[in-house]
Subunit: 147 residues, 4 copies
């Protein structure tokens, strides 16, 4: 296995862990669609339980999706023996979100030694149409795993 | 009933609606502790399902709590026939959160005609000790209810 | 003059006003490079007076550039008799900025009746090379001009 | 000189450097009023050159003040041989700012090994009255000085 293959494999295994071992994410129903170096795509089939009091997708659902997808994207680039932990984010909800499905696409803007910055966009999907409903910038600390 | 009593009663009923009619919040287990003009306090008994992959409270849980408590605080001040909708927020996660219980306190910084700005603080509670774990500033649009 | 031409002309005149009548911007040396519907590009020739204590471009310079360029982009889309006023922004400084010239490109993400959201990217320019140094999301209130 | 005195003296000297050696801050006219462990207060006598096109204090002026005061507050707590560099901030402009003088108060929310988070509030001052006009949360990287 070449060094590149080894890195790719480790990144895939870290992303899998980020999805499989996070109870809040499993409970939400967030699905991993694809991943690549510094990037991640997730989807969420919307149900009534994702809504707020006026029938729109709750801001917290969009924030969770944007944050977690960003974390997975960041995970693909962290060095061996490290993991990422969200240190903060900003999300702008551009349009009230509703419909059947959300897609989130995250891409790393800057992967630093201690801090990684990732951008996440959340879209409402209806057939072939996608509407951008929210956009977040997530800052994550790169933390050494205690062994 | 005086005008003041009427306003107080309407605010209480709007806050009750914000909690009772939001499926995502009921599912999360967020509880309303108290409310006042421009203020709201909520609590969350932490369970395994609120965690992320490394055993900490998920950023999305804290964000949802900060956002929803802010929304309730903002709701106490909106004019008759209006409701609030989060237009965005920033959250800073100051310390990794864990423990048995979170408390969130929100207070309105500025209640405008079209936009309300609210500050939310989330604390980990252990006995009599409270530790600030995250702080958010939430911006909400004040929207007229279609009748 | 067609309706389209009239709108374009008004937008250009509002952008000109946003640059010519803002003393802080004239003092900074920020130059308007181009403008279009929902978009604006500005440049800044860096001088010693734009720096902070360690020789990097001050965060406040980048923030001012990101905010003002966003405001100009938003101005191109406001209805007659209205103007925009920044209600807040988030900026992420991805890399320490230095060099001879900065370029900022702003584009409107959402132009609402009361609120417009704009994204600004700031680049360091060296010859043909551009490096993204900061990225901001700016929220602006659309305000009716008192007459 | 005790260890405490040594730390206090170093903090004061780092804050002085942060003000004296930053050309953009000298040009703006920002004055250091007081400093303490994890805290800093600054003032700005408003002039026409600080305004935007509609006669209000430019968002960039408030952002610069909030950021720089936060940086000085953070500087009081960094270990020997380190300095701080803004990695990003969020500012909410709650009310249009005008008048004769602004005051900014910054206090550290969390001083970490790699990242410090600071809150800054900007007030318009008129006689004995102070009005909160903007509030920012600033994130700074703690960087080791190359020797």
């Amino acid at each position: 296995m070449s060094e590149d293959e080894r890195v790719t494999k480790r990144a895939a295994s870290e992303v899998a862990r980020v999805f499989d071992d996070a109870p809040f994410i499993a409970g939400l129903g967030l699905g991993l669609e694809s991943t690549g170096p510094g990037a991640c795509v997730t989807t969420l089939a919307l149900e009534r339980r994702h809504l707020q009091q006026d029938g729109f997708v709750h801001a917290g659902v969009q924030a969770t999706m944007a944050d977690h997808t960003a974390g997975a994207a960041a995970s693909t680039l962290v060095p061996d023996g490290c993991f990422v932990l969200t240190s903060g984010f900003t999300i702008n909800l551009l349009r009230a979100a509703r419909g059947k499905r959300l897609v989130c696409r995250a891409k790393v803007l800057k992967a630093g030694r201690h801090v990684t910055v990732v951008e996440s966009e959340v879209f409402c999907v209806a057939g072939a149409d996608e509407t951008l409903v929210s956009k977040a910038v997530v800052t994550l600390a790169v933390v050494a795993r205690l062994t």
